[in-house]
């Protein structure tokens, strides 16, 4: 088991999927039980991995598995984790496990729903553990299909539009990635991600062995490869101006799928940049770092500003994700240890806090069947426990000191202020505006929904129930505990982050 732990974690949900397909359509109880078990075991295993097996002092890939897959192109099945991916593997298994009970309200074609959910988990986990670019890409694309159907079948009124938009945007990004990937393979002779990074460190991955020097339409090899990869990941993050699929997908998706989308799928973009874009073309990254920082700041401020104008609760939360993921890009672009750690931490923390926010929206939507922020009022009187949990979630999201979001945002900004490029100081100053606006829209939403006079229509609402609390509690716990004891993540990520920063800086010739 221990030898193939990562494979087990990745593929146990697939076994669950196969079992679900064998169960008759009518026995929905069995389907739910299988889903709980098939997401529960990976959670247990990844927890064991996190606290037991993983050597947090090492920056190397651990628990590697490698064997030949496609000989003709030199593709290997190669998986492994370092501090960066480990945290996200844990987050994935946790959120997927939460997504199952959060889906119990769904009545339509449950068998297909849970089967697709489990397939989605396989794709996500596969991306996080892959160390072979081909394998990475395969998992990356495998995610799209279940997501398309999950949004498209179980989503809201405009689900078809949202589903295909999500699919088209992501695919547009990933075909660019594929072209860059094939070019990299031709130049480097390997699909191995660590192998490509090593070559890049020696300054060899510059397209010189390709015909025509590997240039495309007059662009240098490293330049276009960088942008192709970056855009592929940026669409997923999503970075302004590639974010327009996100509000549609979020709003139309059913609550548990929004949770997964915001909690994990967006992280894939950020993770992809760290793992499979920046260190492979470090020179181009250094060259364009400031541009990325600018994009990050635009996302922060613009996302928050648009969120301020939303009347749909879920749409507001969706735009807040754009804003929060902007910190990730800003922190990475700063190219300092603090910035990079902050970015990695922010990815995890946004994973928990945005998941809570979407669960919060789900709770109220299940009761009122609408999400109009102006249509509520005074709910704190009838749903006090719900109000308390929501408040905690909101504060975590707006970065209140003592909660997780504060640490990561502060680290990001400090790291960015410290950046070797002095222009980043200006960016930090502007992005502070984002923090203010975020606080504004969250508090304003809180005021409109929970305070004021109670809307008569809602006076009979029951408070949040045990199942809903069960879904939110572990995430809120993480928001609190990581706000006080962030080293429970930082110690694990630290060595990998420092190694990464070293790689990127060396690439700059510094």
């Amino acid at each position: 088991m221990q030898d193939h732990l990562l494979s087990w974690i990745t593929f146990i949900p697939m076994i669950g999927m196969a079992l679900i397909l064998l169960v008759p359509k009518t026995s929905t109880g069995a389907v739910k039980t299988i889903s709980l078990i098939a997401t529960g075991i990976p959670l247990v295993l990844s927890t064991w991995l996190y606290f037991g097996l993983f050597d947090k002092a090492s920056a190397e890939y651990q628990l590697e598995e490698k064997f030949e897959w496609i000989a003709a192109l030199g593709v290997n099945y190669h998986v492994g984790v370092d501090g960066l991916s480990l945290a996200l593997v844990f987050l994935t298994t946790l959120l997927l496990f939460i997504a199952v009970p959060a889906s119990f309200g769904i009545q339509k074609s449950q068998k297909a729903y849970y089967a697709l959910l489990l397939l989605l988990e396989v794709g996500i986990l596969g991306v996080f553990v892959s160390l072979d670019y081909f394998l990475f890409y395969v998992f990356w694309e495998i995610m799209l299909l279940p997501m398309y159907f999950l949004i498209g079948i179980w989503g809201g009124p405009r689900r078809e539009y949202a589903a295909i938009k999500f699919f088209l945007y992501t695919l547009a990004g990933s075909v660019l990635m594929l072209v860059a990937l094939v070019a990299l393979r031709l130049d480097s002779g390997t699909f191995s991600i660590p192998g490509m990074v090593a070559l890049a460190q020696q300054g060899q991955l510059t397209g010189e062995s390709l015909p025509g020097g590997g240039s495309l339409l007059g662009m240098q090899f490293t330049t276009w490869v960088f942008w192709f990869l970056f855009i592929g990941f940026a669409i997923k993050v999503p970075v302004f101006p590639f974010h327009t699929w996100l509000p549609d997908a979020h709003v139309q998706a059913p609550t548990p799928i929004s949770v997964i989308l915001a909690g994990i799928l967006l992280k894939l973009g950020g993770y992809g940049m760290l793992r499979a874009c920046f260190p492979i073309v470090p020179d181009a990254f250094n060259h364009f770092a400031y541009a990325l920082g600018v994009l990050g700041v635009i996302s922060i401020v613009y996302g928050a500003y648009v969120a301020l104008g939303q009347t749909d609760f879920k749409r507001m939360v969706a735009y807040s994700s754009v804003s929060h993921m902007g910190y990730v890009l800003l922190g990475m672009a700063a190219l300092t240890t603090w910035g990079m750690s902050g970015a990695a931490l922010q990815m995890f923390n946004h994973g928990t806090s945005s998941a809570v926010l979407f669960l919060v929206v789900g709770v109220i939507y299940d009761r009122a069947h609408h999400r109009d922020l102006n249509g509520f009022g005074g709910l704190s009187q009838v749903m006090p426990r719900y109000w308390a949990l929501t408040t905690l979630g909101f504060f975590a999201a707006l970065g209140l000191p003592g909660l997780a979001g504060f640490i990561s945002e502060a680290m990001t900004l400090v790291g960015a202020y410290d950046a070797p490029d002095p222009r980043f100081k200006v960016l930090v100053l502007i992005s502070v505006l984002g923090i203010v606006i975020t606080a504004a829209f969250l508090l304003w939403a809180m005021q409109r929904v929970f305070l004021g006079t109670l809307n008569e229509k809602y006076k009979n609402y029951g408070d949040i129930n045990a199942r809903e609390i069960f879904c939110q509690a572990p995430l809120l716990f993480l928001c609190v505990i990581l706000g006080i004891l962030p080293h429970y993540l930082l110690d694990w990520m630290g060595p990998s982050v420092e190694k990464l920063v070293g790689l990127l800086k060396m690439g700059a010739g510094g």
Partner: protein, 511 residues
């Protein structure tokens, strides 16, 4: 005499196939067409025998062996690859005819005869470098296809399809023959290998010499011949017949045209460009022209896939959509040719093999649902995925593969093509092809949308066809399996391309 018999042994599969065609015709005559299903089974058995013989031939040939019999027929793995491909698609088409709920069960014996006739044509056209035999094979295929397209004599659309096909086909055959006669006049040979390798000291003259002395007529001749082939594989701007013929012809015939006939067209296209521009040792002297041809093919490829995909976007009929999609796929396969390298050719072969599984599957799905709904309109599929989940999910696998997403064989095929064009300094073509798959996603997934995303309480129950469904599921499983385990198809395509014994690439002599 002995030598003659040995030579006959090399074309044994062709002989058996011809015998089978005769037998089918006579059997139909004797039984007065009373039980055409019997004939279908007879055809299947015959095809199995031919397939077995071809596999034996494949083994016997070895990696790079090829020999010529009767000074005309080249026996190599490249040809055998396409013959196996043809036998495989023909068997599927026969199954389609058997499962076609809208087809008569009697008095259709000549259906099978015509299909076998077309296959004989393909067998000869893919295994020769002699332009005369190539032309004859092509014409045999075409004549059989014309009649097949108009097989439903009472159906106006079918008649229209046949008529269009004849007119366009006749025109393109004329153009091609003109090109061939020019080539013959310029070189004094009708054999491609001779044209590609002769050094020019005496007749027959090689193309190398002719390019130096009179490049314009040679270029005109080459382009005219290419135009004829381009018509067969429906490359833009020679694709106009495709949607109408595909739509009007009976669905099994459409399948045959889209899969077997198209592959055969690519076989001659590859043999032609390969023999003329990439003959081992000569490629450097004609490299300048080779590059131009490659660039021309690259442009055709980009235009073909883009126009095919854009036109497919707006189709309401699934059959017409698949017709345009087959145009787009011709564009993808052309990428491999545009690379002008043995690796590129093998990538094209791999993609054709991938295309076999996913396109047969998609057409099989079309046939299945025509039998259920009596219509080709995509919107009539509404909600049917929930009524027939197995076949619906299988179709999604085909759609995923046609779009080119992992983990399917279509993805790996596209990856191979990208690899080869980037290696041939055609990076932009890979980008164009990538963006094209994004466009294609939109229309392919309209089918998935109707099947699963939309509900239809009144959807009629789907009458099961267990055998046919089983066949489609096998194709679906193969589509995914070969996407994960590419080894077999990979070595088949590489061996086939290697048996052409061409230069690795246009520059390989200088490297």
């Amino acid at each position: 005499m002995d030598a003659y018999l040995t030579q006959m042994a090399s074309i044994a599969p062709e002989l058996v196939l011809t015998g089978l065609a005769m037998l089918v015709l006579v059997w139909d005559l004797v039984t007065k067409g009373r039980n055409s299903n019997q004939i279908a089974y007879l055809t299947l058995v015959g095809l199995a025998v031919v397939g077995y013989m071809l596999l034996g031939q494949w083994q016997e040939l070895g990696a790079e062996g090829s020999h010529t019999v009767f000074a005309m027929v080249t026996i190599d793995r490249f040809g055998t690859f396409f013959k196996l491909f043809t036998v495989g698609s023909l068997a599927a088409v026969v199954l389609f005819v058997l499962s076609d709920r809208r087809e008569k069960k009697n008095h259709i014996g000549e259906y099978y005869f015509l299909l076998l006739g077309a296959a004989i044509g393909i067998f000869f056209m893919v295994s020769t470098s002699n332009l005369l035999l190539m032309m004859l094979g092509l014409e045999l295929l075409s004549l059989a296809s014309y009649s097949l397209a108009g097989f439903h004599k009472g159906d106006r659309r079918s008649a229209e399809a046949a008529m269009k096909y004849v007119v366009f086909g006749g025109l393109s055959a004329g153009i091609m023959l003109y090109g061939i006669s020019l080539l013959y006049g310029l070189t004094g040979s009708i054999d491609l290998i001779e044209m590609g390798t002769a050094d020019g000291s005496a007749w027959p003259l090689g193309l190398v010499t002719q390019f130096q002395t009179s490049p314009v007529p040679v270029a005109v001749a080459v382009v005219l011949v290419l135009a004829g082939f381009a018509y067969k594989v429906s490359v833009v701007p020679f694709h106009w017949w495709t949607p109408d013929v595909y739509e009007g012809a009976p669905t099994p015939v459409t399948t045959f045209l889209a899969v077997a006939s198209k592959a055969a067209g690519f076989a001659v296209l590859i043999r032609f460009t390969g023999a003329l521009f990439m003959a081992e040792g000569m490629q450097a002297s004609v490299a300048e022209y080779g590059h131009r041809i490659g660039l021309m093919l690259a442009l055709l490829s980009a235009v073909t896939m883009t126009i095919g995909n854009l036109a497919a976007l707006r189709q309401a009929s699934l059959k017409r959509m698949l017709a345009y999609s087959s145009v787009a796929h011709a564009g993808y396969v052309l990428m491999g040719l545009a690379a002008m390298s043995t690796g590129g050719f093998s990538a094209a072969l791999f993609y054709l093999a991938a295309y076999y599984f996913m396109n047969l599957g998609a057409f099989g799905f079309l046939l299945f649902f025509e039998g259920v709904t009596g219509s080709e309109k995509i919107e009539t599929l509404r909600g049917l995925g929930w009524k027939a989940p197995l076949i619906g999910i299988t179709m999604v696998a085909f759609l995923v593969s046609l779009t080119g997403l992992p983990p399917t064989v279509g993805f790996y095929g596209k990856l191979r093509l990208f690899y080869e064009v980037i290696d041939a300094d055609l990076m932009w073509l890979a980008v164009v092809a990538g963006l094209n798959s994004v466009i294609s996603l939109f229309y392919y997934f309209r089918v998935a949308r109707e099947l699963f995303l939309r509900e239809n309480e009144s959807a009629r129950d789907v009458k099961p066809q267990p055998l046919f469904t089983g066949f489609l599921v096998v194709l679906g499983v193969a589509t995914v399996y070969f996407g994960l385990q590419t080894g077999a198809l990979e070595s088949w395509s590489r061996d086939s391309a290697a048996s052409l014994e061409l230069a690795e690439s246009l520059e390989s002599a200088q490297r």
